[in-house]
Each structure stands twice: as C-alpha cells, then as structure tokens.
Subunit: 398 residues, 2 copies
C-alpha cells in the first residue's frame, strides 16, 4: 500500500474510535497490504439493533471498504450456558434453535450495512463447545487473579463487597481465546470491552500469534445513552425513523452525524459552518434522516417519509426552536399525558391539563389528544403542544 493510501485508511479507521491499541501495529498491518481479519463479538440474546449499535457495525463496513474481511462472531457459547448458578431465572440457557433464529435476525439487519461477500458469521460454540474441562483449566492458567481484578467493574465489586462468581473470571479468557481461534488481526468493541479485547492480545501473544490491534470506544449505545438514537430500531418504519430523527436536538444532531453518517468529517464540518452562518439546521437534519432511512430501507422510502413529515409537521406550524425538556420515567414504562404536560411546564396543574384536553387544545406530535388518561410510552421524544403558543420537545428517559 502506498504511503497516501494507508494514511487515508488510518484516518477512516480512526474516526469515532476512542483508542487504538497499538496504532503503530495497525499501521504495520495496513502497510503489509494483506486483507486483515477484523473481529467483532455480538451477544446472541438481543438481535434487535438500534442506531446506537450500528456505530460499531459502520466501522466494520469501513474495514470492508478498505478490502478487509469481517468476522462477525456470535457469542453463543456462554449464551447456551445461561446463568450457571440458576439464580437468575430470566437468563435461561438459549437452545441451538434460538441461537440460529437470532443469528438470522442479526444477519438480516447487519447486511443492510455490511457486505455479505466480505463477512463471515461465526459461532464460538463451534470451538468452545468442543473444549474439555481440562482445556478450560489450561486456559484459566493463562491469567491471574490480580490481573482480572484490574478490570474496572471487578475491582469495584470486589472493593464494595459484592460477590464475583469465579466463572466470571473465565468469560474474558473465552473472549480472548476466540481471537486465537479466529486468528484475528483487529478487534472492535465498546469502551467497556477494553479489558476483554486486550485479553485477546495477551492470549494470542502467549500462543505464538501476532497480537490483534484493538479499537475501542466504538460503543454508540454508550455514547448515545439517554438520547433518542439508542431507541431508533434499525427495523423501524421509515416514517417513525424520520420523525424520531427530526426530534433530535440541533446540538446533538452533529454528534449523531459524526457517529452514523457515511459522509466525510469535512463535509459535516462544512454543514456546521453553513448553519453557523445562518442556514436552517432543519435542512441538515432532513438530509441526515434521508441518509439513514435510505440505508435501512431505500431512497424512495426516505423521500416518502419526508413528504409525510412535511404534511404533518410543517403544516402544523410548530415553531423552529422548541424548548427542550427531559423527563425521567424513573423506571416506569410510561407517563400519563396530564403529568407529562405538568412536568414539562406547559400547564400549571394536572387539573388544568384535563381541562385543556377536554377543550381539544392538547396535541402530541401534531395529533390531538382526547383521552385524558392516555399514556405516553418511553423512552421517546414527543413534541407536546397546549393551545397555539405553548410547545415543548419532551424527551422521556428511562
């Protein structure tokens, strides 16, 4: 690879990654010009992907665009063990059939981003399921208690007197061993995965392999936490997707674009300057929403969603700059509409809310509310309106 090429590749790879360990090794691997084996591990239990999840998948796509090979690893081995203590009834072991089903759902979703020709879907039960207790002991011998207790969550729990079951020390080793089994050159993960990703490096070194480069901090779910993007499922209908993306605040929008858009950072920066100089941020948001819908549906669906949105919202004369309000659901699944209006400061009391509803003056997302007992489910963002002048963009957090 020529100097310019690997430098461009590195720039693309760096975008959105918190940390690359070790960047010098990544440069060597890129310079070698061979297709790299790029691993990312996924939980077999939750195949319902939200935009937050796609940050990492987008990064895999970047590697594919650069000619590399993606190892999409489904960690079914531990999923099939379930909760070995039997204490957690909700963590029932998955059957092989459930795993296969979930894997299919995953693939249907991720192949909207990934190139199937450059993606290998793997299951770690393929090698871990064949491993004997003696092999497991051999693997356990490769790290120490002190090393494990360096992991942030373990050290906190240990210091706080919360129990750590011994098998929890085995899971990072299994994840690390997966890298050995896959001979991965690069592994991607969220910041909370850093310790486990580095375990892969350690085990590969111990077992005579060239250690994988670790890209961490690719966790959109974390980075977009308590924000709407986490709750936009990539399988949602174009209209829903469009509405939710348009509800994102004008500030947060830039963060979303950095993480989710396939446009270059330079282009996004140009948009930002244009908005600073007076361009309507709504236009930028529309273009971004169109890009996302086109990715997960198609261009026609994106256009139709825009048309529908304009019909419902622009016509409704909702002002450009809504006050933003964030309300916590405090663990509840929903909130009563009267409470919502009161807490958002749009009415003085719930009895006023009831009167306004009875008078036909209350709208949510442009639709009139007639049932005073109506519940608004969260997490979500809704535009709430009382009469002609009181508006708020209300984000309900869990």
């Amino acid at each position: 690879m020529s100097d310019t090429h690997w430098q461009d590749a590195l720039d693309l790879i760096r975008r959105g990654s918190e940390e690359i360990l070790v960047e010098a090794e990544l440069i060597d691997k890129l310079k070698a010009g061979k297709p790299l084996r790029v691993k990312a591990g996924f939980d077999p239990t939750a195949p319902d992907l939200h935009l937050g999840h796609t940050v990492l998948i987008n990064k895999l796509r970047h590697f594919q665009d650069l000619g590399h090979h993606v190892l999409f690893l489904i960690g079914d081995f531990t999923g099939m063990i379930g909760d070995p203590t039997g204490k957690n009834a909700t963590r029932k072991p998955l059957t092989p059939e459930q795993v296969a089903e979930n894997a299919k759902t995953y693939q249907k979703q991720v192949f909207k981003i990934l190139d199937p020709a450059r993606t290998e879907v793997m299951f770690n039960a393929d090698w871990m399921g064949r491993m004997s207790a003696a092999d497991m002991i051999g693997l356990a011998a490769r790290s120490t208690v002190a090393r494990m207790l360096e992991r942030d969550d373990f050290s906190k729990r240990y210091a706080g007197g919360q129990p750590i079951a011994i098998h929890e020390f085995l899971y990072p080793l299994i994840q690390g061993y997966d890298s050995v089994a896959l001979r991965s050159d690069v592994e991607l993960g969220g910041t909370d995965q850093k310790f486990n990703l580095l375990m892969g490096r350690e085990l590969q070194k111990q077992m005579g392999q060239s250690p994988q480069v670790v890209l961490e901090g690719l966790d959109g779910v974390q980075k977009m936490s308590k924000s709407l993007g986490n709750y936009i499922g990539i399988a949602e209908l174009p209209n829903e997707m469009f509405g939710k993306l348009m509800s994102v605040s004008d500030t947060l929008m830039w963060r979303y674009m950095e993480l989710l858009s396939f446009r270059s950072l330079a282009e996004i920066e140009a948009d930002r300057r244009a908005v600073a100089e007076g361009r309507n941020p709504r236009d930028v948001k529309v273009a971004f929403a169109q890009e996302i819908i086109a990715r997960f549906h198609d261009r026609a669906a994106a256009d139709a969603a825009l048309a529908d949105f304009e019909l419902r919202f622009k016509a409704g004369a909702i002002p450009e700059d809504l006050p933003e309000v964030t309300l916590s659901l405090a663990g509840a699944p929903s909130i009563g509409v009267a409470q919502l209006l009161k807490q958002a400061g749009l009415v003085e009391s719930t009895s006023e809310a009831f009167r306004q509803i009875a008078g036909g003056a209350v709208k949510l997302d442009g639709e009139k509310v007639s049932n005073r007992e109506a519940l608004v489910s969260g997490p979500a963002t809704v535009v709430a309106q009382v009469g002609k002048r009181r508006f708020a963009r209300v984000t309900l957090t869990p």
Copy 2:
C-alpha cells in the same frame, strides 16, 4: 447403633483429629448405623509413603474397623494436566500409564493398613475427564472470588503481590466436586486441606446432597515435620526401620505412639506413667518399633530386627541418654562426615576430624568410618561417636 457403641466409635474417630466439622452431624451419621462412605484424596505423583502419611490412612482403617467403606481417591485428573502454564518443566503431565503404575504402588503400600474388601480405589479423571468446558464453567459459578481469597495461602499470596493463576481457584472446586461424584459422608485430610474439604460440603449442599463431615488435622507429615518419622518409608527394610525408630528421642516417642500406634490411648498413658516411675523408655520404644515393623512387614521380621539391633548397638555400649543435635543441610543432599562431627561439637575442627578418622576413632551408627571424604545423606538421624566418650544423636534436617 446403641448409645455406647456410637460413643466408642466417636472416641476412636476423634483420636488424632484436630477438628471435626460438624461433630453433631457425624454423631447422627454414626447413630444411623449405616456403613458410611469415607473419602480421602491422594496425589498421584508421590506414591512413596512415609510413616507421616500413614496417620491419615490409619484413621481410614479405624473407620473400616467400625464397618465403614473407604473411598481411596487418586487425584489423577489434575496430575494429568500437569502445569498448564508450561513454566514448570518439572511438573510434566502424567500419562495414564504412569498413573496406573503409581496407583499400583499405592495399593501395595496402603493395603498393609487398609482392608482391601472395604476399600474402593477411585480415579477422579473418570468423571472430571468427561467434563466439558461448559460444565467446568457451571462448577466455577458455584463459588466466589471473595470466598476463595479466604483460603489462607491464597490470601497471603494475594496480599503479598504474588501471582495466583486463575486455574488455582478451580482446583478446590474440583476436589469439592469429587465429594459430590462420590457421595461421600465423611472426608479426611490434613489441616492445610481444611478449605478444600469444606468446599466439598458446600457443593454437596448446593447439589442437594447431605454434606460430608470433615475430619481435618490428620496430617502426620505436617505434625511430624522436621522429625525423623517423615523419613521412614513404609517400604523400608525392617532393620532400617527399627534403627530409625530407636533413634527417635524419648520425648518425641510419645507423640509418635499417639499418631501411629494402634494401641489405645489408655495403654499408651499407662506406659508413660510406668516410664515416669522408672521403667526404661527404651523398652517402650522397642515395643513400639516392633508394632510398626510387624504392620509393614511381619512379626518375625520385627523380632529379627530387634535381635540385629541389640547385637549392633547394645553391644557397642552407646550410652542411654545421648545429647541430641539438629543440623540443617540448608538444602544440600548430604554433609561431609568431618563437617558433621565439627558442627555437632564432637571435634574442634575438621582437621581434628580427619585425624580422628585416620586413627579409627570415628563411628556412625556403630560402624567405623575410614574414608575422611565420606558423605552422610539426609534427612536422617545418625548416632555419631568419636573415641569412647564423645557421642551425639545427630538429626540432619533438609
């Protein structure tokens, strides 16, 4: 079982045990009158038993005399793993052939004490070898890091910054699981095994079995450490055994008898009183040595050894009360005879030792030393003599 019977049984079982956990449960088990399954685990690597090891085996024999069933467990599973890190080249994995060979040697030795009809020799590789990595993870889920770090040696090493490999946390669980696999009612072990023995109780409870009673402190090797008894192999020739037992000091003799004799504590107490009132302790020691030799050889061998001993020692006019000297070999396998004499205070200098050897005045165990470069191997106890008046009973410790 009648009240008197189980009380007698309890007295016999208590003898030499440091602690019984939980004694009330043992009483219940004894009262139930059914043959109990009494487990003891043995290392597959060191089948060369010394008197120290037989303390625990004697206790197994007591259980057999009371009608119970002994599970003689050879822990070949971990032995066949060896040192999983590969760092310790001396801990090579044992082959199944070596294990079988060692087991044969064990049986040849222990059946001098145990009743083969009431002994089952078991190998934990039979169940552990079939266990999968997933099963091992399930087992590991049954205890916690904090619980493991309660174990004395682990907590010391952790506090001292010495590494503890994670598989070391799995070994107590395996030992505990052996009790589940064997459905043992009682397990015997040394004080250093207490934690692991209790792990058996825990796992049995978790898996719905009645927990085993633990008898700990049966470790003759520990209790007799740095003393001669540890170094008397039970396969040694009658003459050697006799000589070594006669070299045991008059004080230590009582401890040995408590641990090793099959005579009742009342009888031993009667001997002790007799000696206090003037009986020659040598006579008691001779009777004890005869008992031990008869156990591991036969009565005729015991008599012949006594006759031989009298010929060599009594005739040699060695005084009754020798000064006792303990010398450390500081890790060396042996010590030069001249050094031994000097350090024991029998000569002023090694050059004096050389002169005395040249003059034919030096004897070890009654035999003249003529080679001034002769080495005395340890650990051992020898009676050293220079001329007609200088004597010492020299114990060489490692």
